[in-house]
């Protein structure tokens, strides 16, 4: 038996989201919210482990009320229970404060064996929340897991990427994993699963619900040790942008000459 927790984040659809260059911010209304793609791999890994070992999968997400739709989606994809951590106290959190709230909620849940996170989110792109959660909970973690090899009630063995090397690592439980896209191909929910999830209950916990396990001073923006000074939207840098058309022979000659001129061909080596 393994009780598995998967922290997830709702992110905008990165293919569609627009950037407001004037205001210097992301226009979140321009794209619908979905489960962070890396978190789908984490959820799939959790469901596969549950199928093998028995137990439960619980998803938790800190976010605005609209994140409920992503938690509902997680139920359709095999989670048994979903908890939304919502409230204005949590808003504006950096990775430190986010991981603190997630870890506090996990403490409140009580017993768990494995926490599985996506390696990063596609919007924040930090990859920090998983390892920080592990530190708050004083459990080990293995990052960049590309394969789950063996698991039983006491330990798990995985393959972890370290640049051009892969290490087979064994950790006792409880432990935390962050998984890459390579770990699996997430399943698509069936129509029946979607219908069932539509009726399911999503529990919502606010700051007050964490009062017995957390210090509210660490929540949200005021608890965050990093602050955003400003956001800059880069204009595409001044590339030459010389485009050649016409005969491949001629284009290749011209480009090769230009590359040689730029010192990246021939004489440069």
């Amino acid at each position: 038996m393994a009780d598995i927790i998967v922290p997830i984040k709702q992110v905008p659809d990165m293919e569609r989201v627009k950037f407001d260059t004037e205001a210097g911010r992301i226009d979140r209304s321009s794209a619908s919210g979905e489960i962070n793609p890396f978190d789908l791999n984490a959820l799939e890994a959790a469901v596969q482990l549950k199928d093998k070992l028995g137990g439960t999968v619980t998803t938790i997400s800190m976010g605005p009320p609209m994140a409920e739709s992503s938690l509902r989606d997680s139920l359709a994809r095999g989670a048994d229970r979903a908890i939304l951590l919502a409230g204005k106290e949590f808003a504006g959190a950096d990775t430190w404060a986010t991981s603190y709230v997630l870890a506090s909620a996990i403490k409140k849940l009580g017993k768990f064996d494995i926490i599985i996170c996506g390696e990063k989110t596609v919007d924040g792109d930090t990859g920090q929340v998983g390892p920080e959660v592990a530190e708050w909970l004083s459990i080990p973690h293995i990052a960049y897991v590309s394969e789950v090899r063996e698991a039983d009630a006491n330990s798990i063995t995985v393959l972890a990427e370290m640049e051009s090397d892969r290490f087979a690592m064994k950790s006792p439980l409880p432990t935390l994993l962050t998984v890459t896209k390579d770990v699996n191909v997430p399943r698509l929910p069936s129509f029946q699963d979607k219908m069932k999830a539509r009726k399911a209950e999503i529990e919502t916990w606010g700051a007050a619900d964490l009062a017995d396990v957390a210090d509210a001073a660490n929540f949200g923006l005021k608890g965050s040790p990093t602050r955003l000074n400003k956001v800059v939207i880069p204009s595409e840098e001044g590339r030459k942008g010389e485009v050649f058309r016409g005969s491949p022979d001629e284009a290749a000659k011209k480009v090769a000459a230009a590359l040689q001129e730029a010192g990246v061909l021939g004489s440069a080596k």
Partner: protein
Amino acid sequence: MNNEDYKGLMVFAEQREGKIHPVSYELLGKGTEIAQQLGIEVSAVLLGSGMGDEINELFYYGAEKVYYLDNPKFADFDLLNYKHNICRLVDDVKPETLLVGATHLGRSLAPRIAAALSTGLTADCTALEVGNEGNLVQIRPAFSGNIFAHIRTTTRPQMATVRYKVMQKLGRDTSKTGEVIRKDAEIVDSVMSIVGKESMGGVNIAEADVVVCGGRGLKSAGDFQLLEDLAGALGGTVGCTRPVVDDGWLGKEHQVGFSGNTVKPKLYVAVGVSGSPQHLAGMRDSDVILAVNADPSAPIFKLADYGIVGDLYDVVPKLTAEARARS
């Protein structure tokens, strides 16, 4: 503890099998620049086993002091022992800034240190500046490089992981020396164990000076031979986009982009690559970009220094011939 009690800039020197990772030298280069602006000291912290002369390399690249912890446990990456001992050292030395390379190891280790020390950490920075009050302004891309966030840290040390191949290292100066301060390691239970190690082969695309990258424009796995030929002529390595990896044509070690490798070669040749935001995020900092694509409206042309609109099956062999003739 007041922020004023923290002084100096410290670089985590990452080593694998006794060899220091070049990102550490880049951090020392940037660290030296910042330290000169602020009139502070640059140090490095190195955990290893029998590192010997390799320690001096840190001085050659700009460290004034090296805190060295020697223990067999530090030969390989031992997460909990690394964390425990770096936290102890930071408590002792109190650096104002702690920089860590954004390698797999660094990105796994740094968040644990930050949480343990209750301090802020900014991920995967591509620029660092000194702010008005002498604080560190940490600049990082988000949303696949569509925006850059400027971040400050209210706690100390100010921690950041910094992307490899973005900062400039100093020239290696073997006349430089410094003080090696040996610190005793305090070993805790490793908890986890390494039960095996596999190498993904010799490809290290992040290090290549020339990358020839193929995308969906190629019709079959065998057609990558065209790119191998061009890469051979240019002295480069073959890369690819995510769909190519998904189709099993090439291994992930070749993948350039958001979920693959970030590259910054002198020359990047994109062949049959349309240029999705996810792909551009992994190669936009290349010195010179050449794009070959049949579709003149492909987004890759917007980022390219040079573009050839045409059929890659015609163009690439010609480029290979030209490159051979000129080398």
